[in-house]
């Protein structure tokens, strides 16, 4: 009993984290491409 809510919870959490991570990575890539190399500090 309760597997339905377990699946909903895990899928929602997974989607939320995945969407946020992908958005963050894409934004980071777009920003890094615009900032000159000498100003890209804290990236390693």
């Amino acid at each position: 009993m309760g597997w339905d809510f377990v699946i909903i919870g895990y899928v929602l959490a997974g989607l939320l984290f995945l969407t946020y991570s992908v958005t963050l990575l894409r934004k980071g890539r777009a920003l890094a491409a615009r900032v000159p190399e000498d100003k890209r500090t804290f990236l390693d």
């Binding site: 309760g2 959490a13 939320l16 963050l24 980071g28 920003l31 491409a33 890209r40």
Partner: protein, 255 residues
């Protein structure tokens, strides 16, 4: 040469480590952990609920530390650490809230209870940190945003303390802290959630997994914030240079 991004050897290693831990966590949470005698299968929601509050607490504490250090040192680094940590905290708090609501519906029969101090204080904490993020996006100077959000970041820790101790301070339908150092030391396993054996092992594993994810996200979020700040400075420098060229051209044409 690799395309510029916010990834580094550290984040790639941490990301791979997280994926390995996540695989183990899903096995432990969905297969290895037995159903609970009272909560049935919904106990498995605890393996995302508890780690979420652990990461949210850590993130909001980091926001507090970053805010204090910003005020003490006027350091942009700590200001951006505080802002990044707040966003990560809100993200995990979102997972905390909906996983708790789903668990509550199965266990208590209701999604939410406004009279429960633990739930109410968590909602207040959530709103305070969403307000913090809203403040960071206001149309003010960078210094004004940093100063005001540092004040909210320091005061906000009060809501975290209230959430943590709400169960002890007020009568609540919410269970007591699942992993209580005092309980662990005495071996007491009383409460709705019998935290022992497979439940405990899975919970600790899940917390480590979520902590790795939280750190990975935090590093990337900080780097995005840092790049945004650098870009804003470049834009200002370029705008000043453009104005200089325009006025030089205007003065030249007047002569």
């Amino acid at each position: 040469m690799a395309k510029p991004s916010t990834s580094s050897k550290f984040t790639i290693t941490l990301g791979l480590l997280f994926l390995a831990w996540l695989t183990g966590m899903l096995f432990l949470a969905l297969i290895y952990s037995p159903a609970h005698p009272e909560q049935q299968e919904s106990v498995r929601l605890m393996y995302i609920h508890l780690p979420s509050i652990a990461v949210a607490y850590t993130a909001f504490f980091l926001t507090f530390i970053g805010s204090v250090l910003y005020l003490a040192k006027k350091s942009i680094f700590w200001d951006l650490v505080a802002a990044s940590a707040a966003e990560i905290g809100v993200l995990f708090c979102t997972v905390l809230l909906f996983s708790g609501m789903l668990w509550g519906k199965k266990t208590w029969g209701i999604y939410w209870d406004w009279e429960d101090p633990q739930l109410l204080s968590t909602a207040v904490m959530y709103v305070v940190y969403i307000g913090y993020l809203g403040l960071r996006r206001m149309d003010l100077t960078a210094e004004a945003i940093s100063l005001r959000s540092a004040i909210v970041g320091i005061l906000g820790i009060g809501t975290v303390i209230v959430v943590h101790y709400a169960v002890k301070w007020w009568r609540s339908g919410h269970q007591d802290r699942t992993i209580d150092p005092e309980k662990l030391a005495t071996g007491t396993t009383e409460g709705i959630f019998q935290i022992n054996d497979r439940y405990l092992f899975t919970t600790v594993w899940a917390i480590a997994t979520f902590m790795a994810l939280g750190l990975w996200l935090l590093v990337h979020r900080f780097r995005v914030a840092w790049l945004e700040r650098q870009l804003a400075e470049i834009d200002v420098e370029e705008a000043i240079e453009l104005r200089r060229q325009e006025s030089a051209a205007y003065i030249g044409s007047e002569r």
